[in-house]
Symmetry: C2
Subunit: 199 residues, 2 copies
């Protein structure tokens, strides 16, 4: 990584930390330049606008999510092992310092923040959610192909349900501080897996 690329990454990392604390809309190029001891024009050399930086922050979060949650699952056998690893990856994701807020996943938090702010940042957040659901649906489908899940399994419905379990898990753990959050999530996941298998 060249020096320019390093600085760029440093800016994105710091912007992400700031976004987690204050919200993605609250990051300012001025405050970032000050925190990083860069001139504002030095920072502008990397990002032409606040929006461009916000889009990079979303991209960075999605890349981390992919690295922690999606990719490890793809190294596992199709069917239950791959789904179990998705779940395990999500547990890791919730522990990652920049992944969570007290109320839940930072990607969901950002979606709420951009609720009534149409534009490229909101579009990127909605696309990230679509991509996640599609990834889960593909994992479900590959379990059908492998012969473990039943032929009439609806992959989109599987993704809908798994995502519901994970969101409920996140909220039970963080917002409600329920000691049984992980136990309940694992039981709900077992039920979903059992119902997905060939009889």
């Amino acid at each position: 990584m060249g020096k320019g690329e390093q600085t760029r990454q440093l800016i994105v990392d710091r912007a992400l930390t700031m976004a987690q604390r204050l919200g993605l809309e609250q990051i300012t190029l001025g405050a970032l330049a000050e925190e990083l001891d860069l001139s504002k024009s030095g920072l502008f050399a990397h990002f032409k606008s606040k929006e461009q930086l916000q889009l990079e922050v979303v991209k960075e979060v999605v890349e981390r999510f992919t690295r922690i949650v999606i990719l490890p699952a793809l190294t596992k056998e199709r069917g239950s092992p791959r789904v179990q690893q998705l779940f395990q990856g999500y547990v890791e994701w919730m522990r990652a310092p920049t992944a969570s807020t007290q109320s839940g996943c930072i990607l969901i938090a950002m979606s709420y923040e951009y609720d009534d702010r149409p534009g490229p940042v909101r579009d990127a957040l909605v696309k990230a959610q679509h991509d996640w659901i599609d990834s889960v649906a593909r994992v479900a489908k590959s379990g059908v192909g492998a012969g473990e899940f039943r032929d009439d399994l609806d992959p989109k419905l599987f993704a809908f349900e798994l995502d519901g379990i994970l969101q409920s898990f996140h909220r039970a753990l963080k917002l409600l501080q329920d000691d049984r959050a992980e136990t309940m999530a694992r039981k709900a996941l077992s039920r979903l897996l059992e119902d997905s298998k060939r009889r």
Copy 2:
């Protein structure tokens, strides 16, 4: 309702609309007074502080949620009919003009907004979530008492799962604009109900 009470209700309603648009933290007594053509001191006669008004707004949202989602369910027979009505009430809730944001439920949106703002408003929002989960768990438990659901049903787990379905539903419908959102939610609910019944 006396005139004072009417004015008070008018202020809370308008504050709720403002909170839905801008966020609960963004409401200001000044802007409200102007919108309602009241003097600032007239408004202060009803609410001593912004925080007091915010707490009233949360209370108002919770009351509406209770009226639309919880109470109609309690008029139905215990077991599946009561759970089905909870679901139906939630569908109504999502259609209520002040209940939703584009990303999901306004109560969840507010939780995210107050994520890193500890204090009475956040406490009230967390309590609202706890109360909701407890209400669902009681509905599940009453279905056990009625003999329809199995004796070893875990009411908290049932609530965890139902809440996951509803959150996934809300997001699929609003954020992802998925035409199959309600169909998928109903299928997930059927599966939960089937698994909850006595064999």
